[in-house]
Amino acid sequence: MKPKPNLILSFLAMQTSPISPRTLFDKIWDAHVVSSQAGHPDAFYIDTHFIHEVTSPQAFEGLRQRGLPVARPKQTVATADHNVPTRNQHLPIQEALSRHQVETLIQNCADFGLELYGLGHPNQGIVHVIGPELGITQPGKTYVCGDSHTSTHGAFGAIAFGIGTSEVEMVLATQCLLQHRPKTMKIEINGVLRPGVTSKDLILYIISQIGVAGGTGYFVEYAGQAIRSLSMEARMTICNMSIEMGARGGLIAPDETTFAYVQGREFAPQGADWEKALAYWKTLPSDEGAVYDQVLTYQAEAIEPMITYGTNPGMGIGITGHIPQSQNLPPSEAAQLKKSLAYMQLQEGQKLLGQTIDYVFIGSCTNSRMEDLRLVADLVKGKQKAPNVEVWIIPGSKRVEKQARAEGLDEIFRAAGLNCANRAVRLAWV
């Protein structure tokens, strides 16, 4: 067990030299500070920049106005993933504005010499699904994208966060951003998750505990036995939703599970480079005694499958729980609860178990990988969906789609009455 930080320890940490114990986050951050100048934020180096059609056009326009090239084209990965159709992808996009946005990305990638995994490319997919599956996402590196769920890549022990379009332009032009060092938080989940409780439940539980702004200003490291025992895809789900509690990003220390996932993928280091990379990655986990600005601890056994009842992701309860009563909440939260329950047509104190389900969507950037599809297939195999439920299932990438077909999952879904479409847009946007 690492010692719990307290005010005295935090104070001492400020007084000690740079060789004091460092967190995983500190190690990666320190290695990417290009320049520190008094009165300015740090110039922070970005190893890989993911771009897509929605948040990049104005950034390319900015480069044109200044007559600048893309500084490091080989460190820029482009895909069309937000504003693309799920059906008839071989035909021109029918909706004019969407077509224009995708065509603008194609033109920009051609003009600035960038590789594009566009519609029809075998590597195309949701940016946070393809980075990991291609082996682009690796421990110790930094990733940004004009998309808040860029935090997904932190599952590999990387610093990854979402940025705005002005920042997309900065990274295209210089491969750097100006950044103030965020605070660090450790969220430790001890114990073992109960059967039927997934990593999505785990993160929804955490958000229900600390709220949608509980992580604002922080980079969160998830640790503890329950996290260590998760697969890479389950870890991605956790880090993906860091932004739903307001955190800048989330990350998990790389371990044997991480290394086994990365090894052999298309863009992973090979041969002697692999050995060197592996030796470096093994130095990354937080040192004994490293100090965080805040530490929260939970017990995995306390977590049930979660349901959200309201209009933000912090409004979640365990499957056997009841919607809170406004009288037990502070006035501002009570007002928000009433407003969201009016919208959802639910009552205070009500149980959600037994409510009819209208829609099921599997295909967000949080959950559209092979493990998610296999889990759904296990649940529906040999069964029929109820007539009142509409179900959509959309693989997160072309590779996931191909693998799902190879495993016959599409047949299982269709036989159960589910709607399947090509990989496409996510429900959780940008």
Partner: protein, 199 residues
């Protein structure tokens, strides 16, 4: 590129006493299809501002002729959710120059500052006082002074100071952009890259 800067802003304010307003509420995803920065103001708060039939929702504050001005007063955790800069563009394009709240989401705050839209953080008590004042007296004139970092209601002799990163303050006051500074570091960046073992 920075333009249209202000050192002082003197205007009335529009109250939006809702917490956790996310960027999809500021500008819904289906309106992000433009490839320029202009025009997003038309769809600012689209689903609150217009009824399903496309007519203005008379209950929404932007459609209430009592409230006008270039300052938006908003509940805490404003701008959470998606990273879309379109939210800052929509607010600026509509005509807002500053948003006052007790708490802003990280990415929104950066995006706002990169578009000369000033996020002003005040305490919950002050925010509540400002909301009540403006709701009761929509004609109340507010003054934001960047140099002294104060939010003032001159008629009430009220002044609240707000924090602002000194670097960002300099950028706003002198019309500098982060990109200008980063471009000045190009040689340093190239040297940094040469020292790295892996990419």
């Amino acid at each position: 590129m920075p333009s249209n800067l202000f050192k002082q802003l003197r205007t009335t304010a529009v109250p939006l006493p809702i917490e956790n307003v996310d960027t999809d509420q500021i500008i819904p995803a289906r309106y992000l299809k433009a490839t320029t920065r202009e025009g997003f103001g038309d769809n600012l708060f689209r689903d609150w501002r217009y009824l399903k039939d496309g007519t203005p929702n008379p209950d929404f504050v932007l459609n209430n002729p009592r409230y006008r001005g270039q300052i938006l007063l908003a509940g805490k955790n404003f701008g959470c959710g998606s990273s879309r800069e379109h939210a800052a563009w929509a607010l600026a394009d509509y005509g807002f120059r500053a948003v006052v709240s007790s708490f802003f989401a990280d990415i929104f705050q950066n995006n706002a500052l990169n578009n000369q839209l000033l996020p002003v953080v005040v305490s919950e008590e002050v925010l509540s006082f400002l909301m009540q004042t403006v709701q009761a007296h929509p004609e109340t004139e507010c003054l934001i002074d960047l140099e002294s970092q104060t939010f003032q209601i001159p008629a009430l002799h009220h002044a609240t100071s707000f924090a602002l990163n000194p670097y960002k303050k300099m950028c706003l006051m002198e019309g500098l952009a982060d990109l200008d500074y980063l471009l000045s570091l190009r040689e340093t960046i190239a040297k940094y890259e040469q020292k790295q073992a892996f990419w």
